[in-house]
Subunit: 787 residues, 2 copies
């Protein structure tokens, strides 16, 4: 073992040296000469504090990979550990393969140092540009969920996840420990969490680092793990830590093998207690111990740049040189600056390198999903169906056709969102105890449910970034819980698109149901369509928003989204019974165009500009818009109204803002040049203005949507409160068509009275009037659509 | 004890009866007659599953309140427990005091039943309308953080927090257990968490309910608590549970007293292990056991309405009647429908009632904060300062003046955000072990830091809703982590405003620093100004957004925000050195107006419309806009440019959309009727269009802001990438002033070359050119401003 640990230590010193070099040096990378101010970068950036521990874990994992043929994926939770990730990738030769300009010699090492956290260079965190990473190191808290997502359905994979004690304070991370409830030891891979207690965040101690050790052990045993603690203090001989960590790692990997074997023999046995390691090492270990009498190593002061003003202060320059020479670079690099043969001999080769594993560039593993024809689940125009229930049937087909690499994630709402059909082909995966009363649960299954959108999002991201496919279905209002995670994933995709060696991964698909217009019974807290506002801010190359008006269009949109790559697709669809308007073929064509005039629903006459346009985006708004036009057809027969339906919200943007944006002339052809446009929108009205403000006739848009008015009431009353009900829409048309109100006072009175009647009925009976939910008028319309 | 427990049981049965009644009955509230279909509500809504356990805890707490004179606040984590909260408030007489129409008799009971989850009635969750609640029961996960926030600085208060095992799976709740790290036993109150393991969510078992009991105990011991488990199974005699729970509760309260006494004697002793109770009772306990051979009680099927189709199915109607009669209403209510004297005798009185405690209507306890004059920290116009550092000095004054009811919350970034001055007057509160190397930590203190924006937001909400004041300072990009919590709090405030008995509470104040334009070194993951897009969606009565351009304006805005009530105020301000433009008096006036023409900075001449308007919102955009105008002054001296600065973003809305909205004529007076407006904006450009689309001259707005282009680079390069740098703004003015580009080709070439020169410098030297950061031109401007 001593020989192997000497090799591990050598690797560790090399990686530490390279980590420090990235933060400080623009020249003299090998310290061939005494350090001079001119060798130092003009702006010192980067995070040293976490680097030594990351490098230590990496070095030890390399030993295990070589000895055991491990298929390891490394997830670096301590976000700012960019220097460490880059150092190891360079040492393994991967960096030069990915970026040929950064060669494996002195020039390349200098380039590695110079580019770090420099304009035009590379980010200071693990990022899409970083070989071997599926995990952005900016916002903290998602490492362990990413690790579990990466392990699903990859039985041979061991995901080593270093969790920082800072990020361990975040909500998502705290809940992520429970994800062992979903990992099947034979059909999934394994996750080895390594909690690095370096004791400090930017400026404060961490909670976990200050727990008495016995309490810490209880905590992780309570979370269902078997923890092992490895400790190293300031000044301790690293070899003792190497010995302890090597033994802990070997034990953990043996234990993982044991769990897998045991479970293979007894797939219904008790949930295993997986190993985890607590690595307690000083923050910025091996860095400067003290500066000007102030302790640095082992304190929060080592978080970023432990020695500041190195260019200006000769004493500090000397300290830096001593520090860097303490790694004995002459033992680590050849005269040309390449890693010495002893380093190279002890590293994994090819795809076994954690910096080069295809799992960290999931597109290399990804296979296009097999997508059964959604037409098999078409519904007849005119049928009243729960759209998401129809979708669920197709999702069941998708699961059948992709039994190993498609998963559905939901926060305990898969049944509530009407996706029940999936349980005809699969189970909800669940490792804890089961009771006779349980239904749908199994030790394997394509569905994962846990009451945390954060965990689901993290799992799905990890699953997608390692080359698989999936869908997250959530209540619309509560998807805001993952706003920040969505942001970070969208940013990842934006950047990854510009990294030449990153291969495409499947899109992250959201199905938002139980939406604002049908949360009348759950009340105001459940009524929020604002996720769309967040989504449209992100890179136009990445984000897509779909609002299918009916079940067939939902099927068509879902087909498209599941086949797509490198996007975030947001689909908003209802789970309540609603009419179907389009045949499947028409729906597919409509989804493909993204928006269109529904001639069959309007009252315009050929060759004449309509008096008004009634547009809709969203299932409930579509129904109300059609009903409004129907009311107008009766109340003001001579009025000529065009009906427009928008499925793909990005069509409203201008083409220079989004690739789906509609050119101005086509926009005019749909929305006219000057007719008033009453737009019934699923979300906040001003979002339509935000998207369409550059388009022609935008000044004529009058958008009705959610005005943040809500309570516990009936569906009709929700619409009425927000001016999105059919009567309000019809009245808006009369208001905006010049002179129409004056010419048709009876129509105005009739529509106003209708609205009040409906409202009174709801208040009296606690439900909507039959008149509101009747669809006789729809049948007529849909008959026309069929013809 | 037996006598007391009989009273507890009686209360429990009464509350259960009333809970069931709310879900089912519209008539025959006292079951004077056999149930008929007409007595049943037309639409059955509400959640039964959690009600019995909530009622049980409430009943037992009432006993403890009476016996011990406890000042208890109840937080109902299981969100849908509305019926239970309402039942107890009615039984205690509070409901009739708050809502006189709902009397304490049969008519009132009928009204209580009818209004529940009915159009025009009351929500099905605990909500602002619910007496005794500071916690909305919609989105799950925030109960325990709310409880800890409510306990801070309230030494006499015991916050009993029922945590559902569903919400326990959320990230925020999982991390919230660690909040015991911040609770001082003598200067703060105490929190008694009661985890109700009823075993199920909507459709799935919960993770915690399926852990082996020994593991569950380890988990909570690991979290730092002393857990006691109380169990009741389907069919068990409730009296045995009452006995066990009463004993557990008494022990817990004794233990709390002991901890407090011990800590008073040894304030630097070890962190105490607070008690917590695990109450394992069947979901929907005492409800229907089976329906049509399918088990209901003790399964997920009891989550909402355990008996459906009661109106239609006589057998079910009979089941419902049996169920409700099982509570023996004749022993609970008098002939007139009031609670029997035995019930009334065993309840707390007045403000001791948990339904009437002023802590749950924090405005009753709130005292206006003492706000020292911020002018004391004014900076001289022309000075270059870190604005947030200046603010920190005033916050220190605020802490001095409000030593018991103002707190600062931050995710380990208080120092990073330059608010260090606060540590001159206070410490960071921290109960775990301290080391000699620690600084700033104390057992008491006005600062709380934990690396979880969710926990901080939850604490602050709990603190504000119980009548105190505070500020949450965060990195701008990562505030998205609490998007969902912000949404729910804003909704709470929107609704509370309409509840007559709810008294005003202090506003929730965000300080967003380390913002998008100065996260160049941290890279793309740290660059996101999108929180503002989220905020503007919420009720105009509630949301306010301020973008002070300099330190004095920041002081003025902060003064205003800390004095305000019932709002959410978002302040975006930089922490990097930046120039001060306005004297303190001018800044205060500017903040009050919310926007204005900066005559001293522009080049317009009296009596003539300017050729262009250059507007700015945000500190960095203001600097760039001023610099752009200065560049134009030199390059095209004859061009007349007006400079407009916007502090209060809501001024851009129209008055019918927001109370701060600017009337069209005033908007025209500032932005002109037709001149091109080049708008330098801190956030996403389309947000300005979203806000101002109804305003005159909106078509002439050309907004430059964050276009989602970012990386690790220099401040100047960040601006350049997004077209927000001074050169790009100046070029935009020339582009949009008709003919200007053609007339001034040299100016265009000069500005373009300047931009490229700066960029090259940044790429070469890893820092911005001295030319970029020079403020010589600024001194001239500011001199003019002073004159």
């Amino acid at each position: 073992m001593t020989h192997e640990l000497a090799a591990v230590d050598r690797w560790w010193r090399a990686a530490d040296y390279l980590s420090a070099g990235q933060i400080y040096l623009r020249d003299n990378a090998l310290l061939r000469h005494p350090l001079e101010p001119g060798h130092i970068k003009p702006r010192l950036l980067g995070h040293w504090g976490t680097a030594p521990a990351l490098n230590l874990v990496w070095a030890h994992l390399n030993r295990a990979i070589c000895e055991r043929g491990l298929q390891a994926l490394f997830v670096a939770g301590p976000g700012h550990g960019g220097p460490a990730m880059l150092a190891n990738a360079w040492l393994e030769g991967t960096y030069s393969e990915r970026y040929p300009a950064v060669t494996l010699d002195e020039a390349g090492m200098t380039a590695l140092f110079r580019q770090f956290s420099t304009p035009g260079g590379v980010p200071s965190h693990a990022a899409p540009q970083t070989p071997g990473s599926i995990h952005e190191g900016g916002e903290l808290g998602y490492s362990l969920a990413h690790a579990y997502g990466a392990a699903l359905d990859a039985p041979e994979r061991v995901v080593a996840c270093v969790v920082g004690d800072g990020e361990a304070e975040t909500g998502t991370l705290a809940a992520s420990w429970h994800l062992n409830a979903f990992l099947n030891p034979t059909t999934d891979g394994s996750v080895l969490p390594i909690l690095n207690l370096n004791g400090w965040k930017i400026a404060n101690p961490t909670i976990l680092a200050r727990l008495p050790e016995s309490q810490l052990i209880e905590l992780f045993r309570g979370y269902g793990y078997t923890p092992t603690i490895v400790e190293g203090e300031v000044g301790v001989d690293p070899m003792t830590v190497h010995e302890a960590f090597a033994s802990a790692l070997d034990d953990a990997l043996d234990r993982i093998d044991g769990i897998r074997a045991e479970h293979a023999g007894d797939p219904d046995g008790p949930q295993p207690a997986w190993p985890m390691i607590v690595l307690r090492t000083p923050k910025g270990w091996t860095g400067p111990r003290e500066v000007d009498g102030v302790p640095i190593e082992g304190t929060w002061r080592a978080h970023q740049v432990p020695l500041e003003r190195v260019r200006e202060d000769p004493a500090r320059l000397r300290l830096l040189e001593e520090w860097m020479r303490s790694y004995r670079p002459e033992e680590l690099f050849t005269a040309t600056g390449a890693p010495v043969p002893e380093l190279d001999a002890h590293r994994p080769r090819g795809a076994a390198r954690m910096s080069a594993t295809p799992a960290a560039n999931g597109g290399e593993l990804r296979r296009d999903p097999v997508l059964p024809d959604a037409a098999a689940h078409r519904v007849a125009p005119g049928a009243t169906v729960e759209s998401t229930r129809v979708l669920g049937r197709w999702l069941a087909d998708v699961m059948r056709a992709n039994p190993r690499d498609f998963r559905l994630f939901g926060p305990d709402e898969t049944a509530s969102n009407r996706l029940d059909a999936v349980w005809e082909v699969t189970s909800t995966q669940w490792m804890p105890a089961r009771l006779p009363v349980d239904i749908r649960l199994g030790r394997t299954g394509r569905v994962i449910e846990v009451l945390s959108e954060n965990l689901l999002q993290g799992l799905l991201e990890g699953y997608l970034l390692t080359g698989r496919h999936g869908l997250l279905a959530s209540y619309e209002a509560f998807i805001h819980i993952v706003d920040a995670m969505f942001n970070q994933h969208a940013k990842w995709l934006e950047v990854a698109d510009e990294v030449p060696w990153r291969r495409s991964v499947s899109s992250l698909n959201y199905l938002l149901s139980s939406h604002v217009w049908r949360q009348d019974h759950n009340g105001f807290s459940h009524q929020d369509p604002g996720f769309l506002n967040l989504v449209v801010n992100k890179g136009p190359g990445v984000v897509r928003v779909y609002l299918p008006p009916d079940a067939n269009t939902l099927l068509a949109v879902a087909e498209h989204c599941l086949a797509s790559r490198d996007h975030v697709n947001v689909i908003v669809a209802g789970k309540q019974p609603e009419p179907s308007y389009l045949s499947f073929e028409a729906a597919r064509a409509h989804a493909e165009r993204g928006l269109g005039v529904w001639e069959w629903a309007g009252t315009e006459v050929e060759g004449r500009e309509p008096d008004a346009v009634v547009a809709a985006a969203g299932d409930v708004p579509t129904l109300e818009a059609l009903a409004a036009v129907d009311l107008l057809r009766e109340a003001v027969p001579e009025l000529r109204v065009r009906v427009v339906n928008v499925v793909d919200l990005m069509r409203l943007r201008s083409p220079d803002e989004h690739p789906h944006g509609l050119p101005a002339d086509e926009f005019s052809a749909v929305f006219t040049d000057a007719a008033p446009v009453v737009f019934a929108f699923h979300g906040y009205p001003s979002l339509i203005h935000q998207l369409a403000y550059r388009q022609p006739n935008h000044g004529g848009f009058h958008v009705h949507g959610f005005r943040e008015r809500g309570t516990t009431t009936t569906p009709f009353d929700m619409l009425r409160m927000n001016g999105l009900d059919r009567y309000s829409l019809a009245l808006a048309v009369l208001r905006h068509v010049p002179g129409a109100e004056l010419r048709h006072p009876h129509a105005v009175a009739h529509l106003t009275a209708g609205r009040e009647r409906m409202r009174a009925h709801a208040l009296e009976f606690g439900e909507d009037s039959p008149e509101v939910t009747a669809t006789g008028w729809l049948e007529r319309l849909i008959g026309a659509a069929r013809d």
